[in-house]
Amino acid sequence: MIREKVRVKTFKINGVDVTGQSNQTILEVARDNGIEIPTLCHLEGLSCVGSCRMCIVEIKGSREPTPACTAKIKEGIEVTTNSSKIEATRKMILSMMFSERTHTCSTCVANGDCELQNKSVELELQHSQVPYLNKRFEIDASHKNFVNDPNRCILCTRCIRVCDEIEGAHALDLAGRGLSTRIIHDMDEPWADSQSCTSCGKCVYVCPTGALYEKDVSEEEVIKKRGIILELVKNRGKY
């Protein structure tokens, strides 16, 4: 394998000169320099897929917004992270997440510890800009410890990545497309019947919302251990 040489690159974020290594993403360099970019599907320790589009930034000369978590840095680019256009787009993306599924905080187990909720507070989203679709999905509560409620899922694919990359089981994946996309176990079998699931619970810990949760908890009782993954990866010496 030919390895590309790591070089130091200099570019601008919000008008400030920053430097980073050529194998770093815009998000990583921004965080190293204390510039906050909102993220949702990104989780330290897992790969980046850019599925939520929360971290979009403007790059001068490029017509479309670019997700900062997957875009590698380039010499001399000019990145804007907080223009009014970008902020409006982020709000729209968040609105669409809310409209796709049924996110009713008052009856949700993750109320108070939900990243979708926190993000809306952070971005000051007061009401959804798109009408709710209220599509109904069947809840899978077959597993003895965990529940999968697709009605609260934002399809960030964190659970899929953690199962594949950390646990190594790849018991979960996305099935279908568009509005009917769901998280499934094996061949869309009930969770309890899944042969590859090891019941380790990592998918539940990393879920940003109340889509995957432990049984026997009621509203506002969920405590997620999202930091656990970074610790695991560090212990394995990959970070």
């Binding site: 089981a169 790849h170 994946d173 279908g176 497309r177 499934i184 094996d186 061949m187």
Partner: protein, 157 residues
């Protein structure tokens, strides 16, 4: 029929072997499987997953992502109604609605006696003949509602 004695699994095995049991040849393999079996059953998908050493969920995810792949057996006859822009304007949605009503099935479904499958398509590229309906791979243009119902009757007789 068990996997060992079923010739169709042999065909599938040969096609995977030809591609070196490459994980990235999943879609190609699914194509062969659908051609051989007519649809992708759960057992077939599990067989492919095991041979290509892919997770079940991944294979199922790919099979459900593409419209082309069917997870349920097809009926003996099939009708495809074009829902492209030109056909739609010429009233193909009404044709589809009538067929749905008459046979009590929705698009993508098969009648309980597995005689007729109803499908829709984005465009056949024959917009000048709109509305187009394909009966068992034979396309017919400028179809009216009455025509289509008669033709289906004729076909499934």
């Amino acid at each position: 029929m068990s996997i060992a004695t079923d010739d169709r699994y042999n065909t599938l095995e040969k096609s995977m072997k030809k591609l070196g049991y490459d994980k990235s040849a999943l879609i190609e393999t699914l194509h062969t499987a659908q051609e051989t079996f007519g649809y992708l059953g759960i057992d077939t998908l599990k067989f492919i997953a095991k041979r290509l050493r892919l997770p079940y969920s991944k294979v199922y995810g790919v099979a459900t992502f593409y419209n082309y792949f069917r997870l349920k057996p097809k009926g003996k006859h099939n009708v495809v109604v074009c829902m492209g822009t030109a056909c739609y304007i010429k009233g193909s949605n009404k044709i589809l609605e009538k067929i749905e009503q008459k046979y009590g099935i929705k698009v993508g479904e098969t009648t309980p006696d597995s005689v007729l499958s109803l499908l829709s398509a984005r465009c056949f590229g024959s917009c000048s003949l709109a509305p187009v309906v394909v009966y068992d791979d034979v396309p017919k243009g400028k179809v009216t509602i009455e025509d289509s119902l008669c033709d289906i009757e004729e076909m499934i007789k």
